[in-house]
């Protein structure tokens, strides 16, 4: 066992003890029913064994004779099989944008902020005996941790988050396409990113997940410094992802830039709503707990 693994949970950078204490009052509840192999707290559309009666159907050869309702047989001399709701666990797939642009911002950077949020999310999911996977991506898949719900699994996730660093360009659409074959079981797809990629490509990639029945939640993380350009006079900006430079006269473009970034957020929100995707805007100057409150309140889970 490595030194990292021997540390207790409360020592992790992105999951501080005071946050853990506060997160215990939250519950991560999916909006949709998800399927799962393990019976759990979440109802599944698969009818199975449980105490919750759902319906009758006619007996067919091959059915377990134990499921025949004998009382009905006694009353109407016909064979009916009792169907029950089956409870299953939730799998949450967390996609964390680890491109170079996520390294932008003051304290915290967008990546740090997103990591705090992802850590808390993983904690919440595992605390509810559900499973969570974590995928770090930039222009490709940098790291993927398969779904798991154990304490050890959570420790591994914290370890991955702690050692994550900003990488190269954002290619969310590419990452989604690559991960699709691995996420066969439907669940909740949580994407935390600044979404500086082609919006049509992103939503085209999300179509596959939506078709499979995944619930998709987009957390759009932006720093205040990129919402509102600061400074005056002439300025040179270097793209953190492709190193291209542009020189602008700040007083001349501030308002226009603000309009453009606002339009970008509005386009994201509109496109997400059209697809039935949850969209949450996250400014790094807002505590990520507020995101949970905002999101879970919307879902009626708080």
């Amino acid at each position: 066992m490595t030194a990292v693994e021997t540390r207790t949970l409360v020592e992790w950078r992105y999951l501080r003890p005071e946050d853990v204490a506060r997160l215990k009052s939250y519950e991560f509840a999916p909006r949709l029913l998800v399927e799962g192999y393990l019976a759990g707290r979440h109802r599944s559309p698969e009818r199975g064994r449980s105490v919750e009666f759902r319906d009758y159907r006619g007996y067919a050869p091959g059915d377990d004779v134990r499921s025949i309702d004998w009382k009905v047989l006694a009353r109407c001399e016909r064979y009916f099989v009792r169907l029950f709701e089956e409870e299953t666990d939730v799998v949450a797939h967390v996609f964390l944008d680890s491109s170079a642009s996520m390294g932008f911002g003051g304290v915290p950077t967008k990546l740090e902020y997103s990591s705090f949020f992802a850590a808390a999310l993983c904690f919440l999911v595992t605390r509810c005996s559900d499973k969570v996977s974590l995928t770090l991506f930039d222009d490709g898949i940098r790291k993927h941790v398969a779904p798991g719900g154990s304490r050890y699994h959570l420790t591994e996730l914290m370890h991955v988050l702690e050692h994550n660093r900003p990488g190269r360009e954002t290619r969310l659409s590419s990452a989604l396409r690559k991960m699709f074959p691995l996420l066969r079981k439907k669940g909740i797809l949580v994407i935390v990113s600044d979404f500086f990629d082609s919006l049509p490509d992103i939503f085209a990639s999300l179509n596959m997940y939506l078709h499979r029945g995944h619930e998709v939640v987009l957390f759009h993380v932006l720093a205040p410094e990129e919402m509102e350009l600061a400074g005056s006079g002439q300025a040179r900006f270097r793209d953190m992802e492709n190193s291209s430079e542009v020189e602008v006269f700040l007083p001349g473009i501030k308002k226009a830039y603000r309009d453009k970034i606002t339009a970008f957020i509005r386009n994201m929100r509109t496109a997400a709503r059209k697809k039935g995707i949850e969209y949450v805007f996250a400014g790094t100057d807002t505590h990520y707990f507020r995101l949970f409150e905002r999101y879970l309140k919307k879902r009626g889970a708080v």
Binding site: K110, E226, G233, F237, V248, I253
Partner: protein
Amino acid sequence: MLMWLTGLALLPVLAHLFARRKPPRRDFPDVRFLNELARQAKRFERPRDMLLLAMRTLAVLFLAAAFALPVYYPAGRMFSSGGAHDVVIIVDRSLSMQYAPAGVRHFDQALARARGIIDGLPPGSRADLVWLDSSPAPFTGKLTDNLASLRNELERGTASYSDAKPAAALRSAARMLTDENRTREIHVISDFQATNWRDVNVRAAVPREINVVMLAVDRHQPGNVAVASVSVSPSVAIAGENVMVSARVVNYSAENRSVGILVKTGGFHRQDELYVPPWGEAEALWCVTVETPGEQPVEVSISRDRLAADDARFAVIQVRRALSAALAGKGGSLRFVSHALAAMHVDAVSLDVHATPTMQTPAEEAADANAPPQPFDVLMAAGVPFRDVSAHVDYQGAVLFMDETPAAYAADASRHSLELPEGHELRVGGIIGGRKWRGGKKAEAFHLDGVKDEIFDVFSGGSAGDFSSPAIYAYRQIEAPPGAKVLLFYQDDNRTPALMRLDLPGGRVLYIWNISLSPDSSDFAGSNVFLPLLGEIISRCRRPMEKRVMPPGVAPSFILPPEADTSAVLLKPPYSPAYAPRLTMKGGGVEALLEPMDVPGIYTLEAAGRPMAVFAVNPPLSESDLRPLSFDGGGSVVLVPADVSMSALREGVRLWPPLIAAALALLAAESLAAAFLRPRQEDNL
């Protein structure tokens, strides 16, 4: 020098380039939006940078140029300020110089400039003055150092109403500048009207050694509306006849003009409104009935504008009691003609053909040789040798009737020809057809195809008769002499002329009438077309009046009629008191010699209060178009704008103060632009 200036011009460019601070570099997550905005902003920034660069460059150039202490000579360096000069000043005083765009006439501006030239002459200079009008002449005729006399002449100078002859004025000035040892200059002060100056070749009139300075008065784009012409038709009217008075108004400006136009003649007064298009013209027409014999002035005027001298124009209608006709010859035709003339109230006088020179004794011929021929409007001749008769009659038009076989023609039958005035010859043949009572057959109707003449205008409506109605039984076969215009002809194989017109020297006209008026040969005299046709011919044979409409500056004379009281002869000019003209004896009569008529208007010559003659003086039309010529004489001919003073012309204009001021202004503007231009553009994005 140019190299240095170029080097200096590079300084601000380099300063502009190096003054650009390298802006701080910032890492940014995504610059796609910034790229888009930068592309948009560059569309504005590039011109702004170029503007700043241009202002800086110009400022430095101006400063550098100012250090060279430049002086600008509007007329070049040919006008040195030192040394004595021989100068001739030509001052335009033509009618157009009366144009007063801002209350001050161009002529007054010209006088002021002339005084300035005289005052600015170096000591020892000599000068003279030439007034530029229709007959330019020098003031003294030779150069004088008595400049005070020139100043006095300028004080007395008045504008004229005539046009200008610039070439004559230049030649007159050049003739005085003969001393090759002195600096010779001609200063022309004018509005340089294109109509007067277009064809002037300065160098053809003035030798190259003489400097010519064209000093323009205020040459802003002028506008003028003028009465361009007034005409009366007929100019010689018969009492009771309708006279058409027409006036043409021209707009020499780029705007539409609405002018009130007033006509006054006799008791007829009428005012109308006339719309004249830009650079176009409009015509007004009035019908006036003249009742009283005599000479009647016509005045057409429009509302006054800044050039009032051409806002009125004049004409004269000569009203006569009746037309006069002389009848020469005998035969049936003249009998019908005399009846027709009486019906038309034409004063007809029958000439005794036996008293013609060819039939007089030599003593009688000698006695009549000095007598002036009796004037008539029309001469009607039939059966007489026309050349002999017409030589002793003063007529404007004549009608020669080709009657059927008169004795005079019979005598000439061997040649079958008839001599006309001025060597014209009429070939005459036999008779076609026969007498009515001998079963003569009606000839073909007259044919008018292809014949267009104003005498047939009256028949166009059909109410004045039809040429196909009269029956013709016999007519003479003739050939049209060279130069004659056939107006009517018979529809036979030869297209025999029935009526011809022959234009004679002196504006006279001869009609050859080959339609028998005898009832034996035709019933034309009884047809409804005879009287209108004869009337139209006679009305075109009116004697023209003496020339009574003239340009300014003409000094006409007038021979008073014998019955006039020569003891109290007065000429009444417009706007000034009447004066008694000089009278001389001429040809047994009294001739009044009038002084030049300079002012446009109506001049009336009276004898004992009775009007004898009316003269109309009109402004020259060429003066109404005020557009100046873009004058470029080349060489030592320089056009100096109106706002350049004479001292500036000689000593030059110091340019460094305005250059320094311009450089400072540019630098201030550049600072303001650099400070304020950028933030202002924020809202544009």
